[in-house]
Amino acid sequence: MKQIVAEDVNAYYGENHVLKNINLTIRQNTVTALIGPSGCGKSTFLRTLNRMNDYIDSFRLKGKIEIDGKDIYAKKVKVEELRQKVGIVFQKPNPFPKSIFENVAYGLKIQGTKDKKFINERVERSLRQAALWAEVKDILDKSALSLSGGQQQRLCIARTLAVKPSIILMDEPASALDPLSSAKIEELIGELKEKYTIVIVTHNMQQAARVSDRTAFFYVGELVEYNKTSELFTNPKNKQTENYITGRFG
């Protein structure tokens, strides 16, 4: 469950037309960066991929978003199951006010998993995948809020990984972090793409260039250009893209 296809997607907040005729295919086991100036629709588009926008009353979507050939906005879709498979990590780390262990185990427990051995193994595996195990293995019962910002963000990633998603969405995951923590997140993204499909919104052009395989440039709700990252950053086809990535505007 990893390939994402957006077909003629139009999104609205009330009368405000925020995404216009978006057509995009995100292949499995790739990292796709969404870039563009503030208000261009990139975070809105990201949230359409796991229906987080459903929480916004005025939000409407037209068109189709398919994950592995299935329309995620079809009536029979169970949104909770979708969000298990399409996890999301936000800009500001948001660990639960629980222990480190309980944060990662939470998703499993609310799914009904009771097997302690299974939970323990899954928690360890997720923390290892999130490159956090070595730092927290001896303090798993400590409050997650006692961790540094960078560690909290990796804990949030571990929490997402614990429920075995196929796709991970990241909305500016490193923008609130110091450069070293940000670098660790980028390194983690590089490791995770072996097994997951990752879509990341970022304002940091250099980060997009470093971590992603493909980059999508959004502007005023439109998808202006979508290409291999190396192509987009060396020879963009669209003048607007060139002006944005060279800092002429935005």
Binding site: M205, Q206, N235, T241, T246
Partner: protein, 224 residues
């Protein structure tokens, strides 16, 4: 204007200055022959220091832009092209300086017919025009003009090929002038080399503006 734009424009201005400087070096060599003016030859020799300093300054500017501004797309291509162009210009200037040193020693005495046999003046004229074209092509971002360098380079290559026969004939007819004839034969090679280096500059200008790589392509493919 964004700071990166200002830096790129300043770098472009410096590169245009360097092309002009090197063009003048080559052009002066032709005037040395035309006017038998040894002072001009000395000017070319002294001017070599300025060209080298210009190359180092451009290298430093490129390094700073890469480190501080992370250029991408057209800006990146321009910086990469500039590094190569300034290196080619420095080597062109080296060749001009070698020629000036020869002319300083021999221009007053050399038989002009020997120079004509090797088409030295024609080669110098062609090289000067090529460099001028590259200056204009870069300034106006005119890739059509940049591509004109490929035909002119062919002209220099043809003269170079002909020089083997010319040297052979002259050595038989004027063995007493063997030293000068061999030096002139080397100078033809130097001028043909200037043509090659200027052709490289044309290729880099096309790369910068069109993102098209012409290196190692046959001449016919480079013209489109």
């Amino acid at each position: 204007m964004a700071q990166v734009e200002l830096e790129i424009q300043a770098l472009k201005d410096n590169l245009l200055d360097m092309i002009e400087l090197v063009e003048n070096q080559v052009s002066k060599c032709r005037k040395v022959i035309e006017k038998k003016d040894v002072r001009l030859a000395k000017e070319v020799i002294a001017g070599e220091t300025k060209v080298n300093a210009q190359e180092l300054a451009i290298d430093k500017d490129c390094e700073n832009i890469i480190a501080l501004y992370n250029p991408v797309a057209g800006d990146l291509r321009f910086v990469l092209a500039t590094i190569k162009i300034s290196n080619d210009l420095e080597r062109i200037a080296d060749n001009a300086c070698s020629l000036a040193k020869f002319l300083k020693k021999y221009v007053a005495h050399i038989d002009h017919k020997l120079l004509d046999q090797f088409d030295i003046e024609k080669m110098l004229q062609t090289c000067t025009v090529m460099l001028n074209d590259m200056h204009e092509a870069l300034k106006k971002e005119d890739t059509k003009l940049a591509r004109k360098v490929f035909d002119k380079d062919q002209t220099l290559n043809a003269i170079n090929r002909k020089s083997v026969k010319s040297a052979s004939t002259l050595l038989k007819e004027h063995p007493e002038d063997h030293k000068i004839i061999l030096r002139l034969f080397t100078i033809v090679r130097n001028l043909e080399r200037i043509g090659d280096l200027t052709k490289n500059i044309g290729e880099e200008i096309v790369f910068h503006i069109e993102a098209q790589v012409l290196k190692h392509h046959k001449p016919e493919q480079s013209k489109s």
